[in-house]
């Protein structure tokens, strides 16, 4: 009996030390950190709260990227989404809205109808997930992922890279021109 308990304890301890304990725990924490704030983004009454709940959601998506071994994409996610887009959205809210009027309806009349396509899409994807066999990943990937990403961006995908830079320039100038409005006569 003592030997049995000792073997169980050793198995638990081994799992604790290896990735097969921490990795699923971290995954479930990050998954909850994505989905619960996402629901609050969609359903909170105050638009400023909605925008702020986007922060933990996007940061947890960066955590999922880290778990998948894509460090550079996780860093870009934090920089662009949490640092750039959320701040931009907050600026737009401050510039336009009478902030947080609790009497205004935040959802339109089609909430229950909209549940139909959203839940239907979710169920179709879950059914496909259930009915298909999926690949399993090797435990380790090479350490030079970021270097190889840079190589791919500047060799095979250099056209997409350059076009993206042109799009950013066009979007910047376009945003300035559109947001400035009509010039006063």
């Amino acid at each position: 009996m003592a030997a049995l308990w000792q073997s169980i304890w050793q198995a638990v301890w081994q799992a604790f030390l290896s990735g097969s304990f921490w990795y699923p725990l971290a995954f479930f924490l990050f998954a909850a950190g994505v989905l619960i704030p996402a629901l609050l983004v969609v359903f909170s009454k105050n638009i400023v709260h909605s925008a702020l709940w986007l922060l933990p959601c996007l940061a947890s998506v960066a955590g999922l990227f880290l778990l998948l071994g894509a460090e550079l994409v996780a860093a870009i996610q934090i920089l662009i989404y949490c640092g750039g887009i959320v701040v931009l959205i907050l600026f737009a809210i401050m510039l336009t809205h009478g902030v947080g009027d609790p009497d205004v309806r935040v959802h339109n009349q089609q909430l229950w109808w909209a549940l139909l396509p959203a839940a239907g899409l979710g169920f179709v994807i879950l059914y496909l997930l259930h009915s298909e066999s999926w690949p399993v990943a090797p435990p380790a990937i090479s350490a030079d992922v970021t270097a190889r990403l840079a190589d791919a961006l500047l060799t095979s995908y250099v056209l997409a890279f350059e076009v993206a830079s042109v799009i950013l320039l066009v979007a910047m100038i376009g945003a300035i021109v559109i947001a400035r409005g009509e010039p006063k006569q």
Partner: protein, 107 residues
Amino acid sequence: MSGQLPIPVQAYLVVSAALFAIGLLGVLTRRNAVAVLLGVELMLNAANINFVAFWRYAGGGRMEGQVFAVIVMTIAAAEAAIALAIILNVYRRFKTMNVDQIALMKG
């Protein structure tokens, strides 16, 4: 760790599908134009989770998944800037942010 990651790829796909459905719900139901944009951002993030997950699980050493994720983020940044500029202009003209009241072209 016996030869594979301790989480199957379906776990990431389930999170991504749920995030996409939540974002779709936000796009379809919110009245405020900025909130609709927030739903679009959630859906783009769901797509990015799929890209990176399949890069890790089925990439076979190629980098397309991460390249696509980075390009999608770039386009998302450009899209957010343009959309917010348009929303500012619409607010100046109609004095409202609710997309169901901006129905000038409704027959």
